[in-house]
């Protein structure tokens, strides 16, 4: 983590984790109203060390170690936000958003619609499995959030997007849920612009051009799709959604119309998930362009189990992605 404490001024390779730290640090340096709140984020630097060194640089009044109380973190952040601060809340694990859900969906999400009160805050959600975290440290709660109008939801797959989307989230006048996949923290490393770097919320990105079949994915599934496409050597297009709310409907329909075959992939459970929404949009607006039914590659509707063989059976694996792509290509 020592590398993350130096601010690069030019483009350089950074891990996904370092990029998140970098965005947060840049914004805190540039804007005195940005504060961090969460459990163990101060002297300890956070469970994953995203805020390592922050309390030394910004002090305890801007890097606030809170009691173990998620509704308090989010509720107090709402109060601070309406008073002009820009709180960035860390849920130690995304799973714990359940404990702060009331403040998030009933207070933060609805304040602007009900009363015209803008709530500029970010909720960082370390999500995802693959490391035997078990049912309470592995969840991907995006579908819960997407049913609460008033929340923006982003889920970057690359270090550059992690930095750019977090910067945009902090500057957004709405509550933004920032899903950071724990499995990408140290496994993903890519070129990240130094200094100020923003990525617009609501814009997907084609990360691999192709014409035979499309994979629409986000977070960890983007990497699975890219690896599978490389391994198969097929003519696969990969669209990284990056933002889940608002969804980039134009980009979704564009790739569907281009290839006519779509696989929607995510690590979150299947029913009523992002894949269901994307499939519904495509079937309604690009039905005539389809050459195959839209397929989904997701976790089944079960909790994430602990033991490695059980967890691997539940989370989409590279072989599952290849198989799904093969099936779709040969349809």
């Amino acid at each position: 983590m020592s590398a993350a404490t130096e601010t690069p001024k030019a483009t350089g390779a950074m891990t996904y984790l370092e990029a998140i730290s970098d965005a947060l640090r840049e914004e805190m340096r540039a804007d005195q109203t940005v504060i961090c709140m969460g459990e163990d984020i101060g002297a300890f630097g956070g469970a994953f060390k995203v805020t390592d060194g922050f309390i030394e640089e910004f002090g305890a009044s801007r890097v606030i170690d809170t009691p173990l109380a998620e509704n308090a973190i989010i509720g107090a952040a709402v109060g601070a936000a309406v008073e002009g601060l820009r709180p960035v809340c860390e849920m130690q694990f995304a799973d714990f958003i359940a404990c702060g859900f009331d403040q998030l969906v009933n207070v933060a999400a609805k304040l602007h619609y009900r009363q015209g009160v803008a709530v500029p805050m970010v909720i960082r959600l370390p999500s995802g499995g693959g490391f035997s975290g078990g049912p309470f440290h592995s969840q991907n709660p995006e579908a819960w959030l997407l049913q609460a109008p008033g929340l923006k939801v982003v889920a970057p797959a690359t270090a550059a997007d992690a930095k750019g989307l977090l910067t945009s989230a902090i500057r957004d006048p709405n509550p933004v849920c920032f899903l950071e996949h724990k499995g990408l923290y140290r496994s993903v490393k890519d070129e990240v612009p130094g200094g100020e770097h923003t990525v617009p919320i609501g814009k997907a990105k084609v990360v691999r051009e192709g014409s035979e079949v499309s994979v629409i994915a986000y977070g960890s599934s983007v990497h699975l799709a890219l690896k599978a496409a490389d391994d198969l050597g097929g003519d696969v297009e990969v669209l990284d959604l990056r933002s889940l709310c608002p969804l980039d409907v134009d980009a979704i329909l564009a790739t569907a119309r281009k290839t006519g075959k779509v696989l929607v992939a995510h690590e979150a459970t299947r029913s009523c998930g992002v894949g269901a929404e994307v499939a519904a949009l495509i079937s309604q607006h690009a039905f005539e362009d389809l050459d195959a039914p839209v397929r989904r590659l997701t976790a089944p509707d079960v909790p994430i189990p602990f033991s490695p063989p059980l967890e691997q059976a539940v989370l989409p694996q590279l072989e599952d992605m290849k198989e799904a792509l093969d099936d779709l290509s040969s349809y």
Partner: protein, 368 residues
């Protein structure tokens, strides 16, 4: 600890520290009476509109609790902030909301504070420094705590004040708010309205220890006052607000009172023990204060009657304005989910004479 749903009506609370000479002048006392009477008159008018079928949903009021919101909100300066709850209409009026906007909101009209987006008491005027409540209780205790966190982080001598009923002290978020406020010694004043019942649930089924006693376990004072005595509420609140403003941290003030109407207009209150309402009716906060103004503070009977009559007339005019407000355009239903800009909260009205010429405001703007 006395239980409100017992025989407490005949046992007045220990007298709060009397107001220092000059702390409340003649105009201040007239204003306290006026705001309480305005709350009563506006809610009576609202109940009529509900019974006439002009208010959708149900109707919720704070009849009998007027002294609490008026006496506490009256202490605040313009730059202080509030989260106001459903028995606390008087606090909205003190801060500058007018009854026409309140009644229009209840009727779901365009001219209501939320333009029809939300109903009953779920509103706050952000331009007057208030973030309105949600139905989940006591969620706003945490929002007020967060406002106080911002004040402290910026080193500002400002205070957040919020309300909750004794019922919501059973919820975990109450603990989260008290604990966070206590740990960080935040400038927040919690007003606990113990009105005897959480909907139909009496105190003895709500908690084993009166919540005001829990305050010290969070590291700050808890005081209990007669919630039907507006000057007692004012005095306790003023001490708490001053303490918070000076960096002394939070205070929990229990105001003991009785909810004289049902939880909502649909509630027949069959669970209230016989005779309890009659006992408390003898201690009506508005009647008590009107008598006290004459007996102790140099008001004439005529002056007091004029205040009450003028308020009734004013509320009647406000009701006409509310009724003249159109229903909202259905096309607005899908707009405004997201903000495009951040706009800070505005300052509230601060009618207490103490605030005249202070904090950049004379505190008298828009007073009804």
């Amino acid at each position: 600890m006395m239980r409100t749903n017992g025989a407490v009506a005949s046992e007045p609370a220990p007298a709060a520290k009397p107001a220092e000479p000059g702390r409340l002048n003649h105009e201040d006392r007239a204003a306290l009476l006026r705001y309480m009477a305005m709350m009563r008159a506006a809610e009576e008018r609202g109940l009529t509109l509900y019974r006439q079928g002009k208010i959708p949903g149900s109707f919720y009021d704070g009849c009998g609790q007027e002294a609490i919101s008026v006496g506490s909100a009256f202490t605040l300066g313009p730059r202080d902030r509030m989260c106001i709850l459903h028995r606390d209409l008087g606090a909205h009026f003190v801060r500058g909301v007018t009854p026409d906007r309140y009644l229009a909101n209840y009727m779901g009209r365009e001219g209501g504070l939320t333009g029809g987006r939300d109903g009953n008491m779920h509103f706050g005027d952000r331009k007057l420094g208030c973030v309105g409540m949600v139905s989940m209780l006591p969620d706003m205790a945490l929002v007020a705590t967060g406002m106080a966190l911002a004040f402290k982080a910026r080193g500002e001598a400002r205070v957040a004040m919020t309300y909750f009923g004794e019922g919501s002290t059973a919820n975990g978020q109450w603990h989260e708010a008290m604990n966070m406020a206590g740990v960080s010694r935040l400038p927040v004043v919690f007003i606990l309205e113990n009105n005897g019942f959480a909907y139909s649930t009496p105190n003895e089924l709500e908690f084993a220890v009166d919540p005001v006693e829990r305050a010290r376990t969070y590291g700050f004072p808890g005081v209990s006052v007669d919630g039907n005595d507006v000057e007692a509420v004012f005095e306790a609140s003023q001490i708490a607000v001053e303490r918070a403003r000076e960096g002394g941290g939070p205070t929990l003030i229990e105001c003991r009172t009785m909810r004289m109407h049902g939880h909502g207009a649909h509630d027949d209150m069959s669970y209230v023990p016989e005779g309890l309402h009659e006992e408390w009716a003898k201690r009506d906060p508005i009647d008590l204060y009107a008598k006290r103004l004459v007996a102790e503070h140099g008001f004439t009977e005529d002056e007091v009657e004029t205040i009450r009559r003028d308020v009734t007339q004013y509320v009647t005019e406000c009701a006409e304005r509310a009724l003249a407000s159109p229903m909202p355009d259905p096309g607005n239903a899908t707009r405004g989910v997201f903000a495009t800009d951040f706009e800070p909260l505005g300052d509230g009205q601060a009618p207490w004479s103490h605030w005249q010429g202070r904090n950049g405001h004379n505190g008298s703007r828009g007073q009804a």
